[in-house]
């Protein structure tokens, strides 16, 4: 898995590439929690993730909770088919704010829990 972190439209944009499993989920969690701690609005680009398991999902859930506590925004962008499948299996597609396109992030993002898909 590759993680790149950039700024996009005032969001901290975290781009994930490859497989997200137990071997790298702690690196993802660390990155997400750091951005959350800095009270950034976060968008996670999941378009190039080939596989994600529960350990990766757990990191996303934790960051989502942190953002909610902060009152910041946490958005999942363009999840690939495998990611969307696992999100649905876990019924988390109803919890996360999910947007179809990575760019541009809407100036006024949807409220948490409202999927734009």
């Amino acid at each position: 898995m590759n993680i790149t972190s950039t700024q996009r439209n005032g969001f901290a944009a975290i781009v994930l590439e490859g497989d997200v499993d137990l071997s790298c989920s702690s690196a993802l969690r660390k990155e997400l929690l750091e951005r959350t701690f800095e009270r950034c609005d976060i968008v996670v680009d999941l378009s190039r993730v080939g596989y994600i398991d529960s350990s990766g999902i757990a990191g996303l859930v934790e960051a989502y909770q942190g953002a909610r506590a902060n009152g910041t925004r946490f958005i999942l962008a363009a999840p690939s088919v495998p990611v969307l499948r696992v999100l649905r299996l876990a019924r988390l597609d109803r919890v996360f704010t999910i947007v179809e396109s990575v760019e541009p992030v809407p100036a006024v993002a949807a409220t948490p829990g409202e999927s734009l898909l």
Binding site: D19, D21, L22, S23, C24, Y51, D53, S54, S55, I57, A58, G59, V61, E62, Y64, Q65, P82, R85, V86, L89, A90, R91, L92, V95
Partner: protein, 560 residues
């Protein structure tokens, strides 16, 4: 009993010698050469107690006392005293200090030394050098200057000195014996290393014969050999030398090298064993013997010729059944007359299966829980669980399974001779280290196995996800992040894909593995829910031989 102190001096306690006692204790504590310090102590004691002369006697290995240092007008260093001679012997034998005010009135006083040297002994103060009951020698002082006898305080000082001397000597001896033990241990470790280096190298995956050895500790009496012959057949042997330590190790080395040499010369394993017996008889290693099976595999026909000298019977696994190959001779190295008519051979048709050979270290391994012997049945039960694995991996897996689950009292050696004429199994079974980094490889293995077995993209996706989640649970919860193994099994049974994951961790309580309520949004606990969502059934099954945990997940290929 000591005679009363004739000086009767008040305030003359040993406390006034505290400076000397402290000096000598410090000297003994940092001494590299205890005897030199003892000599210094003797000189100091003679000075401080105003004696005319003094001697240090130490017990020799032959039981005599020898003078190791001497102060005074006459040097008696090197003098030997046979047991029973004089006041010094009385001190050592009684292990109790002696004070003689007037030698003329003590019947035990031996004037021989005075006679030989011209020295006139009037009074004696002698204290044993001893640590508890262990006697090491004595320090003897002669003639207090000024004509007085030695006092209680004098005795107190001498006893304080001999006590620290004794401690220093015992310490030095312990250190020396420890160093010797360490050297012996290093020798033994080196011997064990050399021995392991003599075992055959790991065979390639395509070899039909494999062996593994797990040494219990120290040098081993087990061995195995794999020798490919020029005509394409493969000779092999497994053996166990009775007895322990260096002697058994040397006999093992000799027997193994005899096998390697003779197998190229003699025709058939029966003749090889008879030839080894006759060579061993020449070397006469009384008190030890060797149990051994020698065999020859014809790779093209899948037939094995076996000869057994007192070893555990090899076991054939074919068509789902285990059969012991009985018969054979007594062990090698007992009586060559037993082998006068040679060793009978048995021909075994592997029949698409495999032949297993092992040493009793394996069958006598005891379970950590309950302490029950694994037995041949237990070993076979384990082998049976891993039949879809490659032969080399199967042996490793059995050893890994045993590693966590049994206490080894002896070396374990296990061999397999496999029929390469058999059709390969359609099931996939592989051993992986339980680490997050191999999860990608495990997922790829499941996907590849399903490509061979059948099942659409949805089945593959489901099985890959469920296997990954189950492996995560094993890594995180069964092994708790520590070292371990995962056995992955993927097969097709009727219209279903069956995935079995086995670990060798302590048993997991399935009731504690619960699916998280989905309304409760929080990290963790998701994995089990995902597994149950994508597979048709997920459940723990009794693991082979009760070792570790076995999770079975089934996915139907054709939806009803």
């Amino acid at each position: 009993m000591l005679p009363p102190d004739p000086s009767g001096a008040a305030g003359d306690g040993p406390s006034r010698h505290l400076d000397l006692i402290a000096e000598m204790m410090a000297a003994f504590a940092r001494s590299q050469d205890v005897e030199a310090t003892l000599r210094l102590g003797l000189v100091r004691a003679v000075e401080r107690l105003e004696a005319e002369a003094g001697s240090l006697f130490l017990l020799e290995p032959d039981g005599s006392l020898r003078c190791r240092a001497s102060v005074g007008p006459v040097d008696v260093t090197g003098l030997r005293l046979a047991p029973g001679t004089g006041i010094v012997w009385r001190t050592v034998e009684a292990n109790c200090p002696q004070r003689v005010g007037d030698t003329g009135r003590d019947p035990d006083f031996a004037p021989t030394i005075d006679d030989a040297t011209g020295f006139i002994t009037r009074s004696i103060l002698c204290a044993p050098v001893a640590a508890g009951p262990e006697r090491l020698g004595a320090i003897e002082l002669f003639n207090k200057r000024g004509g007085h006898p030695f006092s209680d305080a004098d005795l107190g000082l001498l006893q304080a000195l001999t006590a620290s001397a004794a401690l220093a000597m015992i310490n030095a001896r312990l250190l020396a014996s420890l160093a010797e033990q360490e050297m012996m241990q290093r020798d033994l470790e080196l011997a064990a290393e050399i021995q392991r280096a003599m075992l055959p190298p790991l065979q390639g995956e395509d070899s039909p014969v494999h062996g593994v050895n797990l040494p219990a500790r120290g040098v081993s009496g087990d061995f195995y050999e794999i020798v490919p012959l020029p005509d394409g057949r493969i000779a092999f042997a497994i053996g166990d030398v009775a007895g322990k330590g260096m002697k058994a190790a040397l006999l093992m080395a000799r027997t193994a090298s005899l096998f390697r040499c003779l197998v190229k010369r003699e025709d058939g394993p029966g003749r090889v064993l008879a030839a080894i017996e006759s060579e061993l008889h020449e070397t006469r290693l009384a008190g030890t013997f060797v149990t051994m099976v020698a065999g020859l595999l014809d790779v093209d026909t899948g037939r094995v010729v076996l000869a057994n000298a007192g070893h555990e019977p090899p076991v054939l696994y074919a068509k789902g059944r285990f059969v012991e190959i009985e018969g054979g001779m007594p062990p090698l190295g007992i009586d060559p007359r037993l082998f006068a008519d040679g060793v009978p051979e048995t021909v075994v048709d592997l029949d698409g299966g495999a032949l297993y050979l092992f040493t009793d270290g394996l069958t006598e391994a005891r379970g950590v829980v309950g302490g029950v012997m694994l037995g041949a049945a237990g070993v076979l039960g384990l082998l049976d669980a891993f039949t879809a694995m490659s032969a080399a991996e199967r042996l490793q897996t059995v050893l890994h399974a045993l590693g966590g689950a049994v206490t080894l009292r002896d070396d374990v050696t296990l061999m397999v001779v496999e029929d390469r004429t058999r059709p390969p199994s359609s099931a996939v079974q592989r051993l992986f280290p339980a680490r997050p980094e191999v999860l990608a490889e495990i997922r790829a293995t499941v996907a590849a196995a399903l490509a061979g077995i059948g099942g659409g993209a949805e089945v593959v996706e489901a099985c890959v996800l469920a296997t990954d989640e189950a492996c995560q649970n094993i890594i995180r919860h069964a092994y708790k992040g520590g070292e371990g193994d995962i056995v992955l099994h993927v097969s097709r049974e009727d219209d279903s894909v069956v995935i079995r994951l086995m670990d060798f961790a302590p048993p997991v309580d399935p009731s504690k593995i619960v699916s998280r309520p989905l309304d409760d949004v929080r990290p963790g606990g998701l994995g089990t829910h995902l597994m149950r969502s994508v597979m048709d059934t997920v459940g723990f099954r009794p693991p082979p031989m009760g070792i570790g945990n076995l999770l079975e997940m089934v996915k139907r290929i054709e939806s009803p």
